[in-house]
Amino acid sequence: MTAPMINLRQVSKSYDRGGETLKVLQALDFEVASGSFEALMGPSGSGKSTLLNLIAGLDRPTAGTIEVAGTRIDTLGEGALAKWRANTLGFIFQAYNLIPVLTAVENVELPLLLAPVASRERRRRAETALRVVGLEDRSLHYPRQLSGGQEQRVAIARAIVNDPTLLVADEPTGDLDRASADDVLRLLETLNKELKKTIIMVTHDPVAAERATVVRRLDKGSLA
């Protein structure tokens, strides 16, 4: 048995809201095996995004330990955590989050600016990533010149360009029509099967969940 890609032990997360403490996650144990494609479902406000943020090192737990891709991230300093994200993770956001003033290929290049890669090589790798998502002919387009589905595929290219082991997606098809959503899901499936990326994806869409190898439900801060 190989070590799990994601391993949360007794993780709690609460937020301070005007003096009141909002307990979102309580003593959660959570494991994701390497190479799996997991969907996380559950009602709004159940803590899915919170859990994803913790796994991705965007936020810190109130208690508990988090190990991702072999690194204890809950104890990492701010700078080390940023570096770890750059090397280990690819993000896919519901709202795509492309930088509007940068072209598709420039957006895809962004993560490579954090690694010692020469500019010519950066461009080459970014174009390769765009080819993987089928948008090589859109590399010089700005986000506003693309459809929602195309924007999300550019975002996926950006997420995979530095060859991370783990992809984290928060409702990646939430803003898309059925056909575009299917394109994106097919793409994620390919990345999982052929490029062996571990994927954890939050979704409300049962069709999306069907693509995943494992489906989990989060309700009121605990896994069902």
Binding site: L58, D59, R85, E106, L114, D170
Partner: protein, 387 residues
């Protein structure tokens, strides 16, 4: 590092705000550069007026030629001292009278003082840069004047063949214009010494005496001779020193005024830059969160927003500096407080002044952008996840 084109294009997208903010900074730089250029122009104009091998003799205690008075016989005495150069017509010594006349300005209402200088035959020899640019030299003893070219067209009557009243009912005719290598003499009207003295009832006196020395090195000896005789009650200084002192006061005044005004404007423009950058940070929170989520560090975000602010300010600075260069073609007349008369100066653009001014803009951008950049750096990466 976050690429610079991210900042450049973000500035370009917010066109109106960017231009307005940059223009504010440009205005400050324009004011600063212009006043530094004017101060440089004053130093240059007055610096060109004085020679090191000419001694200027005035009544002891006088700060300026205007307030000095020397009796005629003393002029001859000064010419007999050792160290004075002699020409075909004897010692190169020129006792000149300075008066100030209120003249009607053209193109602006009101009057302003113009310096009139009563000249001798030797006067031109003491000013080797002198050149007649149009018309002719006045005839000795005639009611004719020669006008410095910077005054041309600035006052009523100061045109070729024009005339003005030297004193009430004492008209004189302009017969020529002269240049003097850009010196402050170009802002004077030159009149025959005796014509000026009779119309101002100053017979028997001159204001100052210029003495051409055999060489620069003869000055100290000459000065000692003049000042040793207490009965004379005279003082001597190098002509160059005299004008340097005048320019120091005036250029310092302009520099200080310009700097004070610029600093106040700069505070305003810096607050403008700060507000603009705060607004930029607020509207780009999700972008910043995304950059952080992708792995860019806090300091990368800080640097990026500082850079954006500096770029914005520098663009404004370059605009302001370019506008100030256009001032180089403008002639500016102002009172020289040492002579209480108008001297026409030029704005003197130098690479150093332009560099300093654009540098000042960059510093404004840095200071104004600091707090917004710190706020940007504090944006949590989790902000990227919020819808």
């Amino acid at each position: 590092m976050i690429p610079v084109r991210y900042n450049v294009r973000s500035l370009a997208v917010r066109k109106t705000t960017t231009i307005a903010t940059a223009a504010g900074i440009g205005l400050v730089v324009f004011v600063l550069a212009s006043s530094l250029m004017l101060a440089a122009g004053v130093r240059k104009t007055l610096g060109l007026s004085g020679r090191r091998d000419v001694a200027l003799v005035m009544r002891k205690g006088s700060d300026a030629e205007l307030g000095s008075s020397i009796e005629d016989p003393q002029v001859g005495l000064l010419g007999s001292l050792s160290g004075v150069r002699r020409g075909p017509r004897g010692a190169l010594v020129s006792g000149e009278v300075i008066v100030v006349a209120a003249m009607e300005k053209l193109g602006a209402s009101g009057v302003s003082n113009v310096q009139l200088r009563g000249m001798t035959e030797q006067s031109h020899e003491l000013r080797p840069q002198f050149k007649l640019v149009s018309g002719r030299l006045p005839r000795a003893g005639a009611d004719e004047v020669l006008v410095g070219q910077r005054l041309r067209g600035r006052f009523r009557g100061l045109d070729l063949d024009g005339s003005f009243d030297l004193r009430k009912n004492r008209p004189v005719k302009v017969v020529g214009f002269f240049s003097d290598g850009g010196s402050s003499y170009e802002s004077e009207v030159w009149v025959d010494l005796d014509v000026l003295r009779t119309s101002y009832r100053r017979e028997g006196f001159v204001s100052s005496v210029r003495v051409q020395l055999e060489s620069e090195g003869k000055f100290d000896g000459f000065q000692a001779l003049v000042e040793r005789d207490k009965r004379l009650g005279l003082q001597a200084m190098r002509e160059a020193t005299y004008f340097e002192k005048q320019s120091e006061g005036t250029s310092l005044f302009i520099t200080v005024m310009g700097s004070v005004v610029s600093v106040f404007f700069a505070l305003g423009a810096m607050i403008g830059a700060m507000i603009t950058m705060y607004a930029a940070v607020a509207s780009r929170q999700r972008e910043i969160g995304t950059l952080r989520a992708l792995g860019f560090s806090r300091s990368a975000v800080l640097g990026s927003f500082l850079l954006e602010s500096v770029l914005l300010a520098t663009a404004g600075g370059v605009m302001g500096a370019a506008a100030s260069v256009a001032m180089g073609t403008v002639h500016f007349s102002m009172i020289n407080y040492a002579s209480w008369s108008e001297v026409v100066f030029r704005f003197e653009p130098t690479a150093a002044i332009l560099g300093q001014s654009v540098g000042f803009a960059a510093v404004m951008g840095l200071v104004g952008g600091l707090l917004p950049a710190v706020r940007a750096a504090r944006i949590a990466p989790a902000v990227a996840m919020r819808g």
